[in-house]
């Protein structure tokens, strides 16, 4: 079959099974847009800002595990996509970003809307390609999808000079069946010797903790993790990125660890004699001061990425491979050695942990305070949402206090239901990410828990939701401030709120939502909270924007003491330190 470059590109995406492409047109991408118009297999979602396109594709990818696909024009289109590419890169999310580029003969001439997209994006992509000729498009697309989705996933940019998609030059089109990149062979199966060493260390341990992160979700290893712990019955903590990979309602679940982790999770890590890290990378929000991290723990580290192991915390036993495969091998060997596991040995440790939990665990009754003389607590908003949705909703979030309250108080029992920008911490992520999740799962509840600061960073996407009829729910936890910034200023800068409040310049969010054709609800009193949220969630076919005014002075706790603190050093409330 003979096709022009633009059709070759679109057909290649269709061959990869792409259902949605999120984008925004412009000069250098117009040939490609014409090909999109002429086909029906893939739907294009016209966003209102290229950042929205990348986050929407990212939300789609996190919800489904399939790569998200983005199309932008050259110059400003490409640069607007950068924040979203960096967001996906930091969280290892598979994404393909196709950027238009000026024609080959113009490259390097400062042509209209020319920008060096490959150069600008280089530090925040897993890899990138420039199309040199239409003939090579199928192979490049095939390789790009392979790289984006295998090993440690990540975003891949394909920069497409306009002349390579010209409609008047035809080439033979055949999509390759296989892909083999001789310089790229990520590990899949673990070294059996390392599995054996890991299992022996597990059997010897007295104070073990399983610490699982986003890599376990990327590797679709939730089931294997649960099976492993049916054998071990060890305490489990998840990172912000890993929430849901182990059921939050399981009795062995400690909650999230790290900067705003639970008391029992952080104490367990600090006092452990064995930490089994599964697809987690000992990021600085987890370790606090690395030198003081878990002083007595042996570390087993399962990861697909060599460069993530022993980067910050030295691993005693490194297990390289897809963590799903590594877990399966561990399960098999543990089953064979079952009689060597002594469950009684770790009983004192479990008792210690339940003491910690009862001393300073999170307050899960906060929503019961429903008198109107007190302001609404932000935690209570999340607790009501959890109850109303039976913990089954997809929750996307932005960045700030509301994000931490969502992570602490919505108990995720399944992976891929919690969608947030953990690594880059990108305000503006929540709304477009919810659009991507809703397109992937139109029959599921998709809720964006946001703050009045973050939502305004991609608020224009309310218009996209109107065009494509995306009935997501937006819960705006409105503390009339950049709350997380303000909390740091309260704690470390003598309460000087430099540039963290808005002096009553906030919009009327209810009217704003209505002007886009959506429903707006304002909640200001405790007595209206539950019924207001129920009403919003009962409107299945409408986007509802719920603007909830909460206590502006509330802080997120626990909070690690930094700098120079360890994981056992936490603020438990405004007055109390451990």
């Amino acid at each position: 079959m003979k096709l022009a470059g633009n059709d070759i590109l679109i057909q290649s995406l269709i061959e990869e099974g792409v259902e949605y492409i999120f984008g925004y047109p412009g000069g250098a991408a117009l040939h490609i847009y014409d090909s999109i118009f002429k086909q029906k297999k893939m739907e294009h979602i016209l966003v209102r800002h290229e950042q929205g396109a990348t986050h929407a594709a990212d939300g789609y990818a996190r919800a489904t595990g399939k790569p998200g696909v983005v199309l932008v024009t050259s110059g400003p289109g490409a640069t607007n996509a950068i924040t979203g590419i960096a967001t996906a890169f930091m969280d290892s999310i598979p994404m393909i970003v196709i950027s238009g580029q000026v024609a080959k003969h113009l490259i390097g001439t400062d042509a209209f809307q020319e920008t060096d997209m490959i150069g600008i994006s280089r530090p925040i992509v897993k890899h990138s390609f420039t199309v040199d000729s239409a003939e090579n498009i199928p192979e490049i697309v095939k390789q790009a999808f392979h790289i984006a989705t295998s090993g440690r996933p990540g975003p891949v940019v394909i920069d497409v000079p306009k002349d390579t998609t010209a409609p008047d030059k035809l080439f033979e089109f055949k999509y390759p069946n296989d892909v083999d990149i001789r310089s790229y062979k990520p590990p899949i199966d673990p070294d059996p010797n390392q599995i054996e060493r890991a299992v022996d260390a597990i059997i010897e341990s007295n104070k073990p903790v399983i610490y699982a992160g986003g890599g376990a979700i990327n590797s679709n290893a939730s089931e294997e993790l649960i099976r492993l712990n049916e054998i071990l019955d060890f305490p489990v903590t998840n990172t912000l990125m890993g929430l849901g990979v182990y059921p939050a309602t399981h009795k062995r679940f400690l909650g999230m660890l790290g900067m705003h982790g639970t008391y029992q999770a952080n104490m367990s890590m600090h006092n452990a004699d064995l930490i089994i890290a599964i697809g987690a990378r000992f990021d600085d929000r987890i370790t606090n001061t690395p030198k003081l991290f878990a002083p007595n723990a042996k570390i087993i580290h399962l990861d697909v990425d060599y460069s993530s192991v022993s980067k910050i915390i030295e691993a005693n036993i490194a297990v390289f491979g897809q963590v799903k495969n590594s877990l399966l091998e561990m399960i098999e060997l543990l089953e064979a050695k079952k009689e060597l596991i002594d469950p009684k040995k770790i009983l004192p440790w479990k008792e210690q942990i339940s003491d910690w939990k009862s001393q300073h665990g999170l307050n899960h009754e906060m929503h019961l305070c429903e008198t109107d003389d007190k302001p609404i607590m932000p935690q209570a908003v999340v607790q009501h949402l959890y109850n109303i949705t039976n913990g089954k909703a997809f929750i996307t979030s932005d960045v700030g206090q509301h994000q931490m309250f969502a992570a602490q108080y919505y108990h995720f029992d399944e992976p891929r239901k919690w969608i947030n920008s953990g690594g880059l911490g990108t305000m503006g992520f929540g709304l477009p990410a919810a659009m991507g999740a809703k397109l992937a799962y139109p029959n599921d509840e998709v809720i964006c828990i946001t703050g009045e600061g973050s939502i305004q960073m991609c608020i224009q996407e309310l218009s996209t939701c109107t065009q494509y009829n995306l009935p997501i729910k937006i819960i705006n936890i409105n503390n009339e401030a950049l709350g997380m910034v303000k909390q740091w200023q309260d704690m470390n800068y003598g309460g000087r709120h430099s540039a963290s409040t808005y002096q009553s310049s906030l919009p009327n969010f209810v009217e704003l939502a209505e002007s886009y054709g959506h429903v707006g609800i304002k909640i200001e009193k405790n007595s209206e909270l539950k019924s207001g949220l129920e009403k919003a969630l009962s409107m299945k076919d409408r986007l509802v924007f719920v603007d909830v005014y909460v206590d502006p002075d509330e802080h997120v706790y626990p909070m690690l003491v930094a700098p120079n603190g360890s994981l056992k050093d936490m603020w438990l409330d405004k007055e109390t330190k451990t």
Partner: protein
Amino acid sequence: MIQRKLSIILENKPGALVRVVGLFHQRGYNIESLHVDPVEDLKEYKFVEDKLNIKLKEGEVSHLIIATTVNDNLLRQILRQINKLIDVLIVEEVK
């Protein structure tokens, strides 16, 4: 800390070299010297073919030698990060 020499075999493609050089800057390592040539005489590079079980053609890959001053832990980290670059075939320390 002592100066180390890294020997890197990478695809001779546009953009491949800048990814390696860029990585040094991104991760805060300093490049003290740098030398790169396309590989024409394949005899000396049989170890690449043997290690990866591939056949090379003349001029298809480049040989890059970079000198940098780092400790052992950082060296391991640099080697792993360079190896992660898609266009890099082999990286090792020259003793």
